[in-house]
């Protein structure tokens, strides 16, 4: 039994994911990627994770898509219009896709029948924050350091002159 809301959001997710990879111009691909991020946020709301949905929209749509758009603008335009040459990896990718789907279906049939969810999710945003800081506090600090060093590294790379490499 598929609920219509889930079906609609899932369809938008898959279609926009394919469009992001197959759009002729990469700007449209970036916009389709933004649509995919928003629809995944919709799925998070269906899973009662509304704070995570806001987080997803803020970080992905607000930061990552904008970053990608800036990069696309900075990279020369002719490069983007020229159709991409295929790598001849169609067979490999078909095998990878089929394997992923088979493994996924088998695991689904075997594994997920045992999950009987509770109807009302008992946790609120406050519980998410408490769990984050109580159980994953060290990881939180390490994540902050990783983010800081990643941004410093990205700035250093972007500032690098032609002769310095």
């Amino acid at each position: 039994m598929v609920e219509p809301v889930f079906f609609a959001v899932a369809t938008i997710t898959v279609i926009s994911a394919v469009a992001a990879l197959e759009a002729r111009e990469i700007v449209y691909g970036a916009l389709a990627l933004g649509v995919m991020f928003i629809s995944v946020a919709g799925l998070f709301i269906l899973l009662d994770a509304s704070y995570l949905a806001m987080f997803q929209i803020g970080v992905y749509v607000g930061a990552v898509v904008v970053l990608i758009l800036f990069t696309v603008i900075l990279v020369k335009r002719e490069e983007l219009i020229a159709p991409e040459a295929e790598t001849g990896g169609k067979l490999r990718s078909f095998i990878a896709l089929t394997l992923a789907l088979i493994v996924g279906s088998v695991a689904t049939v075997i594994g997920t029948g045992a999950f009987k969810p509770v109807e009302v999710y008992p946790y609120s945003i406050a519980d998410v924050g408490l769990n984050l800081l109580n159980n994953y506090g060290f990881g939180f600090i390490v994540l902050a350091l990783v983010l800081a060093s990643a941004l410093i590294g990205a700035l250093t790379l972007a500032k690098m002159e032609r002769g310095e490499s």
């Binding site: 990879l21 991020f37 995570l52 987080f55 970053l67 996924g104 689904t108 999950f115 690098m160």
Partner: protein, 102 residues
């Protein structure tokens, strides 16, 4: 409520789309798109399992949050590398970035 298997099938589909992109595309920016698609599928799995556990848990959401933050860092680094690559090679075709090939 929706059975867990539907979320699982959706996330495995996103994984498949991402793998397809990773193996067939040559544009470095498209490869980054594929990685983002795969990461979103993984996050969806974390959140779905956290919700469908009995008793339910919030750890799935917390781990998905970590994953989103790391994906943002990865995108910043990746796009900086793509900019440097474009400056050095005049192209974002990963096939042409073979200077370090042995």
């Amino acid at each position: 409520m929706e059975p867990l298997s539907h979320y699982f099938v959706l996330s495995i589909t996103l994984l498949g789309i991402g793998l397809y992109g990773l193996t067939t595309k040559r544009n470095a920016i498209r490869l980054l798109f594929s990685i983002e698609v795969i990461l979103n599928g993984a996050n969806l799995n974390f959140v779905a399992f956290g919700r469908y556990m009995n008793p339910p848990t919030v750890s799935g959401q917390v781990i998905a949050m970590f994953s989103i933050a790391l994906a943002a860092a990865e995108a910043a680094i990746g796009l900086a590398i793509i900019l440097v690559m474009f400056r050095l090679l005049g192209s974002v075709d990963v096939r042409r970035a073979s200077r370090l090939k042995g």
